[in-house]
Amino acid sequence: MAHPIHGNRRLLDRVAEATNQRNMAPSPAHDENIIRTPIDEPLIDRFAAEAQAVGMSVSRTTEASLIDAIQSLRRTINDELTLVEPALAAHRPELKTLPRSLTHPDQDQLYAAELGIVGASAGIAETGTIVRDAGPGRPRSFALLPMTIIVVLDASTLLPDLYDALARHRPNQLPSETVLITGPSKSSDIGMKLVTGVHGPGVVHILIVQDA
């Protein structure tokens, strides 16, 4: 059922009046050569370089070695309470066996967790960006609340450019939210000094699975 429109429709009338009888400029054509940044190396290499340049750590791994890679990262933060994204765990059940990990935390556990292990819908090589679509089994909070996150990214989902990332879905088939994550949470609002881990994660580890 379509929801109501509140307020005064005068706003729409005013806009119609203001745009009436104007010389309509044509809808501008997009020349992709000026929009896309050219990439002349393997996407995985560019992605890794850019993601590192914005302060995320990047390692390459294989499906078989993934769980070991995750465990060794966990040890660097003393195996603290960990959230594991249900959708990710559905494909890789061994993740559910990690000690002190939860796929369905309660609110207190959610806010207490120090690490989140999540998947990615895609990656953007141009900017070293992780793309996450929201959906069942992919809570937004798991990639935001913990101070450290590990993102498992399938190399086959790497895209060259932002332009491609926004062309993945048809306009009427978009998920409720897509987040593009390009670095750890940060701010330099306090005395112009850069600090990470403001409200979101201060440490982001990306594990690129090359043979997913």
Binding site: P28, D31, I34, Q107, M192
Partner: protein, 467 residues
């Protein structure tokens, strides 16, 4: 915080504050240098700027169509829409939503529009606590201070000033260490996010073809706002529409690079309706407030190009006037070159009419603007409007008209030159004047002498056959 009544007074106050001046100069020159470097990173930045300008102009030319398309998509997604003709309407809509959900605590991500409408005041008056979650805004809120820059709102406060504020208002020890201060803010804010029923955000970009709103931030507070509380209200100016996701990509290519020299901000999120079945977080109710508050008037008029603005602050960072006086001098919500237009046209401020005159028309802002807003030309248009309506400073147009009349006749012109020499030369010592007479007195009130016109002009020397 009281605002001094005239621009000149505010500017004088800012200029007297050495600490502020150094902070602003440092911050803006760094940012501008980074912006230039980030632009060089694009395959053809001038062509991209032109495309961005065309997209915006096309959208504004057809705004009725795109606005309706956007609204249709929002309705399809189950988002409730509120049309607000005025700032008061916008605030009333948010208050009504808060009341509907029995909300007493709200969290808010930075939005210039909500500053423009004074939303926080309206919420407080209605008994709703609202916490600013953007670190700089949070700091300012603690101090009851106002932002002085579009993207770096607390740029006028140095580290000690920040530490002082936290110590005083949050009852924590004074610690002039950014990491410690951020850790305090993080902890304080989590409790607020968790307990708030309502989140209020702005909108950077609204995509007509899908009903998507785009938010662009770095700290994580925006994402927190839109995942934790039950209700999300997004307030947007009606000019924020772009037709398609591909158009949004063009804007995003320029926005981060122009604002903070980032190709993309840390969090760029696209919200297309409330949470769906099976999702564990995200707002379950979403409302969009579409605000006019003077924008349709601008759209109908000769200043419509200001509506292209994507609030990147590139013009602030390059403007030598802004670099000298900082944001508060402008007296309103929008500072800098774009603020000289937006303040008189939209938000208003004490002595807003002086703003279009406080510019040398140097054009640096035009060069820095990712959507090619010809700010100097628009300032001239505003001066023209004022002259036609007989508003603004009266002595200047009178004096200039008279000077131009004198210049229309070579004989009068030469006579005027002679009179100027007669007036100025006697006041000079060694060809320099240290106290100029009105109307030039301001020249020498600055730390600057006025050269005396030489005894003979070029044309006299030519006439005498000396050249």
């Amino acid at each position: 915080m009281t605002v001094l009544p005239t621009f000149r007074q505010r500017a004088a106050e800012a200029l007297a504050d050495q600490r502020l001046r150094l902070a602003i100069l440092d911050a803006t020159t760094q940012r501008d240098a980074k912006r230039r470097a980030a632009w060089r990173d694009l395959p053809d930045v001038q062509a991209l700027r032109l495309l961005a300008r065309q997209i915006k102009d096309h959208t504004l030319d057809n705004l009725d169509h795109y606005l309706n398309q956007f609204i249709d998509n929002l309705r399809r997604l189950g988002v409730e829409i509120h049309l607000a003709s005025s700032a008061d309407d916008a605030n009333a809509a948010v208050v009504a939503i808060a009341r509907q959900f029995h909300c007493t605590d709200a969290v808010k991500a930075k939005s210039m529009l909500t500053e423009e409408t004074h939303l926080n005041r309206a919420l407080l008056d209605a008994g709703i606590n609202v916490v600013e979650t953007d670190l700089g805004e949070f700091l300012l809120q603690l101090d009851d201070d106002r932002p002085s820059h579009l993207t770096c709102p607390a740029v006028h406060k140095d580290l000690d000033a920040c530490a002082e504020t936290f110590a005083r208002k949050l009852d924590v020890p004074f610690v002039a260490d950014p990491h410690a201060l951020v850790a305090i803010a993080r902890k304080t804010m989590r409790d607020k996010f968790r307990s708030a029923t309502l989140a209020i955000t702005g909108v950077n970009c609204a995509v007509a073809e899908s009903g998507t709103i785009v938010l662009v931030m770095n700290e994580g507070n925006g994402r927190f706002c839109t995942l934790a509380p039950r209700v999300h209200v997004a307030m947007m100016g009606l000019e924020k529409i772009v037709p398609s996701l591909a158009d949004a990509a063009v804007m995003l290519k320029l926005l981060g690079r122009s604002a903070t020299a980032q190709r993309l901000t840390v969090d760029t999120h696209f919200i297309t309706g409330p949470r769906r079945d099976g999702e564990l977080d995200g707002a379950s109710h979403m409302h969009v407030v579409i605000v006019d508050a003077g924008r349709s008037d601008i759209l109908a008029g000769t200043h419509r190009h200001v509506l292209r603005c994507i609030r990147c602050a590139a013009c602030l960072n390059i403007c030598p006037v802004y670099r000298s006086v900082g944001g508060h001098a402008y007296g309103g919500v929008y500072p800098g070159p774009i603020g000289k237009l937006l303040t008189p046209l939209l938000a208003g401020a004490p002595d807003a009419e002086t703003l279009p005159h406080a510019s040398t028309l140097c054009g640096a802002c035009y060069e820095a603007c990712p959507v090619m807003i010809d700010i100097p030309q628009l300032l001239i248009e505003m001066r023209r409007d004022q002259a036609a309506r007989r508003r603004g400073p009266r002595w200047k147009p009178r004096l200039i008209r008279w000077a131009m009349w004198l210049a229309r006749s070579p004989r009068r012109f030469v006579l005027t030159q002679r009179i100027v020499r007669r007036l100025l030369r006697p006041r000079s010592a060694d060809e320099w004047i240290s106290r100029a007479p009105p109307p030039l007195a301001g020249w020498t009130r600055a730390q600057r002498d006025l050269p005396a016109p030489p005894p003979k002009s070029f044309r006299q020397l030519w006439k005498e056959g000396r050249i």
